[in-house]
């Protein structure tokens, strides 16, 4: 009796009959936590070589990126203040909302040869396309197919006009940018190709080719451009570009592209219609002409960041080498153990 109870209550290792049937659990490397493992120790060798490898990789990448960005030629022209005639500058909002002619002439000078295609952008500052109520004010199902014309719940207040649904509905479409630019060089007009300015995925899948604008800008307040009701949405590329809401309050959107080269010293005459009201919220409007490289437009940030990080890593490799030489510590020196350094105390 006693041996029975002893074996049922004790674990293994009991010094009587229990030794015959061991209660030891089945061994596996996973449950006994004995999986083969890599135990990295950040020795000075590893630290310095990591920094060197990072700098060796990053510095050339930074040079490549910076060259790509430096090759890009960009002309930026802010026109929203100058395109208001002097007498109207005291009340710009009234001017822009009124019926006065809005045509404006600007001159741009090319300072470096620009190879085609040259992209024409409009840049807006202080325009919060990323505002929460603005971003949600659209109906993607409506844009795709005429079947979902009535799915306008998120589009308030621009959801219907007199009971009929607006296509495309929402504040984003309603506030479509409507300044236009006509460019000419030496009195010969420069053709601006407005095809293929939107992402292909948007044109083919997000905006349907059977959806036509309806009841658009019919309300009391006109927010922006009107749309031709005979052209399906998949071909209204200005709308498609505009509806890809920007991430930050300062953004550029593609207007078109010029397919001829521009030489150094060329003067470009721009006749623009200054229709869009950015004056009520102190926004800025700029016209941008820019070439691109394989990495994109003129943005030195990536190149400078790579170079800076590569340089910092190189400098750190040197600094750590000096540190390891000046203040050496033998690896695995037991005198650094806290109970050897100050017995009874420690870290």
């Amino acid at each position: 009796m006693s041996s029975n109870t002893a074996s049922s209550s004790g674990g293994s290792g009991d010094s009587s009959a229990a030794r015959k049937n061991s209660k030891r659990p089945k061994y596996s490397k996973f449950t006994q936590q004995e999986l083969p493992a890599c135990k990295p120790i950040l020795t000075p060798g590893w630290v310095i070589s990591t920094f060197l490898i990072v700098s060796v990789i990053f510095i050339p990448l930074g040079v490549i990126s910076l060259f790509a960005s430096q090759d890009v030629v960009e002309i930026v022209d802010r026109y929203d203040n100058d395109c208001i005639p002097a007498p109207a500058r005291t009340n710009k909002v009234a001017f822009i909302q009124g019926d006065a002619p809005k045509a404006c002439n600007r001159t741009l000078t090319v300072t470096k040869r620009m190879k085609q295609p040259i992209y024409v952008y409009y840049q807006l500052d202080n325009f919060y396309q990323n505002h929460r109520r603005y971003v949600k004010s659209r109906s993607d199902s409506q844009l795709r197919s005429p079947k979902f014309e009535n799915q306008i719940s998120a589009c308030k207040p621009e959801d219907d006009a007199g009971g009929q649904p607006i296509v495309p509905c929402g504040l984003i479409a309603w506030s479509l940018f409507n300044d236009t630019y006509t460019l000419s060089r030496n009195n010969t007009p420069l053709a601006v190709n407005k095809k293929d300015i939107a992402w292909k995925s948007d044109k083919e899948h997000k905006f349907g080719n059977k959806v036509f604008p309806k009841n658009f800008q019919k309300g009391n307040l006109t927010g922006g451009a009107t749309l031709n009701p005979d052209i399906p949405l998949s071909e209204q590329e200005d709308l498609i570009v505009w509806m890809r809401t920007a991430a930050l309050p300062t953004f550029r959107k593609l207007y078109g592209k010029i397919e001829t080269d521009l030489d150094n010293g060329d003067t470009i005459q721009v006749t623009l219609q200054n229709n869009y009201n950015t004056y009520s919220f102190s926004g800025k409007k700029k016209l941008v002409l820019s070439t691109t490289s394989w990495l994109g437009g003129k943005n030195d940030f990536l190149g400078i960041a790579y170079l800076t990080v590569g340089g910092i890593c190189f400098f750190l490799a040197l600094a750590f080498t000096i540190m390891y030489l000046v203040k050496p510590r033998r690896l695995g020196d037991p005198s650094y153990l806290s109970w050897n350094r100050n017995p009874g105390g420690g870290r």
């Binding site: 630290v47 929460r132 993607d140 995925s201 037991p334 420690g346």
Partner: protein, 362 residues
């Protein structure tokens, strides 16, 4: 009798299971106590500290990127990431690696833990979960969130490939999310002392799961009235060189800060376990030697005592339970079929009770 303690450890054995039933931890032999404390208890402390710190760090980093974004949305509350990306961040994309960390993290091996019992003092001094440690992790989270957010938003202004097209909000946010998932997952490898293949599988698998989910989620449209914000975004991103350049730069810069900190800390302010690791860095993992020796072979002396115990002997009536007296009334003994002999005075007492009504005798 012990009335109060921080932890109760019961040892099961000849005196029965009462201590086991009343304890927090139960072991079978007294010598297992060294393992419980010095090996498993210490590892458990280390693992819990790391897991908790990592959880706060990864969520802080994730949330702070959105926080920096609010400054640029007119404080309107626009979310930076798509809803599903945000919800599944903690479920699929960063959950498994930290579980593997909590299961397998070992600063030194079991035999070394027992050879240097003073390592246990790190737990007593709470050296892995002080405010100082929390502050370091929080600073790292702030730094990484700033890097992920600022590097991407600054460098994605303007055209990002040769076609001159522009990214929208959801392209930028998906790129930040990708950099973040990679940085936060690779951080596990930086903070592990012992990296098993499960670490690689879960870290790689989480990043892969994110990509697979993005491919699937960005490729579908439904007929519901919902904002299909990230439709095709990941494919648009992957069609640019810019994406790959950013993907190399941002996680590397994020982790650079932690790497520098770890290098400096190990050199100038090493923990005790780090010194022990260095002392024994050339020794290979002696796995079988860590086992407590529980062999089934008997030494000659043990074989002799076993044989002696097998000789016919007087069977003890003790049941192994405290206060269970076999000489009088033993519940457990009676369960096993051993009854105490009747006492003469008890027989007489019961015989004299026959005609009396059942009255409680106290």
């Amino acid at each position: 009798m012990i009335q109060a303690a921080h932890v109760g450890i019961g040892i099961s054995g000849m005196e029965g299971m009462q201590a086991v039933m009343a304890s927090d931890f139960a072991i079978a032999q007294f010598r297992f106590l060294t393992d419980l404390l010095l090996v498993h208890g210490r590892w458990s402390y280390l693992r819990i500290c790391k897991v908790v710190m990592y959880f706060f760090y990864k969520n802080l980093t994730f949330t702070l990127t959105q926080f920096w974004f609010t400054f640029r949305t007119g404080f309107s509350g626009q979310r930076f990431y798509d809803d599903w990306f945000q919800s599944l961040y903690n479920v699929f994309f960063t959950a498994l690696p930290v579980i593997v960390l909590g299961l397998f993290e070992k600063d030194v091996s079991a035999s070394l833990s027992k050879r240097y019992p003073e390592l246990y003092r790190e737990g007593i001094r709470n050296s892995f979960f002080k405010w100082r440690v929390v502050a370091v992790w929080a600073t790292s989270a702030v730094y990484q969130s700033l890097v992920c957010y600022l590097f991407v938003t600054t460098s994605s202004f303007g055209a990002i490939n040769s076609s001159g097209k522009i990214f929208g909000l959801w392209d930028v946010s998906t790129l930040v999310f990708t950099c973040l998932v990679i940085a936060v997952n690779v951080r596990i490898l930086l903070m592990s002392n012992s990296i098993t293949r499960w670490h690689y599988i879960t870290v790689g698998g989480s990043i892969l799961a994110w990509l697979v989910f993005a491919f699937v989620y960005c490729g579908i449209t439904t007929s519901r009235d919902r904002n299909e914000n990230v439709y095709f975004v990941i494919y648009v991103l992957m069609s640019t060189f810019y994406f790959y350049f950013t993907l190399l730069l941002v996680p590397a810069v994020s982790l650079l800060g932690d790497f520098i900190y770890q290098g400096v800390e190990r050199w100038f302010f090493p923990y005790d376990y780090q010194i022990v690791q260095e002392i024994h860095r050339h020794e290979s993992d002696a796995t079988k030697a860590d086992h407590l020796e529980i062999e089934n072979e008997l030494t000659p002396q043990e074989a002799r005592s076993y044989a002696i115990s097998q000789l016919p002997r007087e069977l003890s009536k003790h049941t192994g339970f405290a206060f269970d007296s076999p000489g009088y009334e033993s519940f457990f003994a009676s369960q096993l079929g051993v009854y105490a002999p009747q006492k003469a005075w008890d027989v007489a007492r019961r015989a004299s009770m026959r005609s009396r009504p059942k009255v409680p005798k106290k």
